[in-house]
Point group: C3
Chain length 226, copies 3
């Protein structure tokens, strides 16, 4: 696996990869900060929800693969970027809400970047192909789940009345693993995997693609979570 690690580390130059990470972190943090404003949290709550949304998925991945202390606590840029997003939303949230479409587009970009980076890092740490896909997915969607749990809402990831979110990340992570399996992971294929997840998420939002609920579900409106 030593060779693989070497190849992976050259996927992108470190500074390019780091910049991409910060971009993804920033837009995830925006989505956390906006939910905090909607929930009427104070400035500190806005900062906490921004941090958790942006770093929660990667933190979970790092604990699982034993990469401690996690990157969220060793890279100052990872920590400060969500604070910047929180500050922006604190002062300008009506303006940020107004460009919700733009935020969603960048959140989709974050989803694409994180599922690829998470899958690659999990494989580098010795996990199998299936486990790497699972952790790539968890890296991409974990922060959003923690955000919703802290805001005391049913995770939007699990709700049937939301556009597909996990499936695009799953496709991106699976593409990475297929490339690894066929020894074809390189900057070009990595970028392709991230773009595939990005594009799928945009299409899901545009055409309101949704996943089916259980078959033969009886109508039970009373059971629908608020």
């Amino acid at each position: 696996m030593g060779d693989n690690i070497e190849v992976f580390q050259q996927l992108f130059t470190p500074s390019v990869q780091h910049t991409l990470d910060l971009v993804g972190i920033f837009f995830f943090a925006i989505s956390g900060a906006l939910l905090a404003v909607r929930k009427n949290f104070d400035v500190f709550g806005i900062a906490v929800l921004a941090e958790v949304t942006a770093l929660g998925g990667g933190l979970f991945r790092d604990l699982v693969i034993g990469a401690v202390p996690p990157a969220a606590f060793t890279d100052l840029g990872y920590f400060l970027t969500p604070l910047l997003a929180a500050l922006l939303v604190f002062f300008l949230h009506p303006e940020v809400e107004r460009i919700q479409l733009g935020v969603n587009v960048f959140d989709a970009a974050g989803l694409g970047l994180f599922c690829v980076a998470g899958t690659t890092k999990a494989y580098e740490y010795g996990l199998g192909l299936t486990a790497s896909v699972t952790l790539g997915l968890a890296t991409a969607v974990g922060g959003g789940v923690l955000r919703d749990v802290l805001a005391n809402e049913v995770p939007s990831l699990l709700r049937w009345d939301r556009d597909l979110y996990a499936v695009p990340a799953l496709v991106g992570a699976s593409t990475v693993v297929l490339c690894i399996h066929y020894d074809a992971l390189n900057p070009a294929t990595s970028t392709l995997a991230a773009l595939a997840a990005f594009a799928l998420r945009l299409l899901a939002m545009r055409y309101h693609w949704r996943a089916p609920r259980a078959w033969h579900r009886r109508s039970t409106a009373a059971e629908v979570p608020d």
Copy 2:
């Protein structure tokens, strides 16, 4: 402790232990998938809740004892079994609901198996007797708590109006630790501990055994969680 480990590893043949683990995982996953259907989640939400319910307790235990990557991410069978349960519930949930009694019986079996396996593994990793009991308990009930948190419900484990669930697991875990203390842990006593937890849970369901609430509680219906 080296001797102990050797003894423990021979408790059951690996394949027997593995089969028992998969059986417990399967029935825990069924309970997660059924709650997801009741909460109106989509097919992906059903799969996530099945995975979390089945593997969450063991994942927490493995992170605490430093067994990374956790078994949930290294054993493909552990990962695929909940998906099978989710698929079954997705297509046949009315039939599965109808045999709820049977599901509860098997969930009780999972509880017995997990509290024994969790306690044994924690002790193998060098934890003290009390800590091993605590982690055995957490292994058995942790997945269910995570399931309820993700579904945005008060964990059924904590509610006074549910039949005893933790106490049977506590009895099973304590039995294991007593056997360790008196150097009497072997396949027979392990099986006995699991059966004790299993039987206690069945009795608690049959006779609606419940734990008391705080003494002299004033009647405050308004404070009762939904």
Copy 3:
């Protein structure tokens, strides 16, 4: 850093530090147990919420810095103290509620002790100054967040209509890190940092200091959580 560790370990004699830890754990556990009584949980739910509130923050810190098994599972006193608090609340909760002011004062003391101890331990394990402050804060407030999540409530930490809680802990943790930076951390400055957090929290409760919500927030009563 070796020198630093030696200095830190002499901050207080081990038995003094341990006693302070147990005092903080006890009062955090009381706050968890009282919420459990209010939520109508049974005796087991009271014990779980006491344990989680008292040990959750330190557990998270230990997992992040790789100190496994975490202190919560290796020190019997850490485990038994919350049970004692739970027992007390179980039998005497009307009396404990009546002295809520006293409980809040001691919870504030716990906050001061935990933010200092958490920051120091994180730095000892090699984290940077900013990350140490973050983990000190997480040690102090993490248990309360977990308590509220398990009780299915919006974490009181994040709500704008609660008196400042995180800011005092942040001040305490930052003071520790400033002392480290200027090579001035000793028992006296540590005590000062803990006292500063303690006093700030008392003042915040006395004068109902609160953090601002987002600027130009439109009135949207319907969106206010419960």
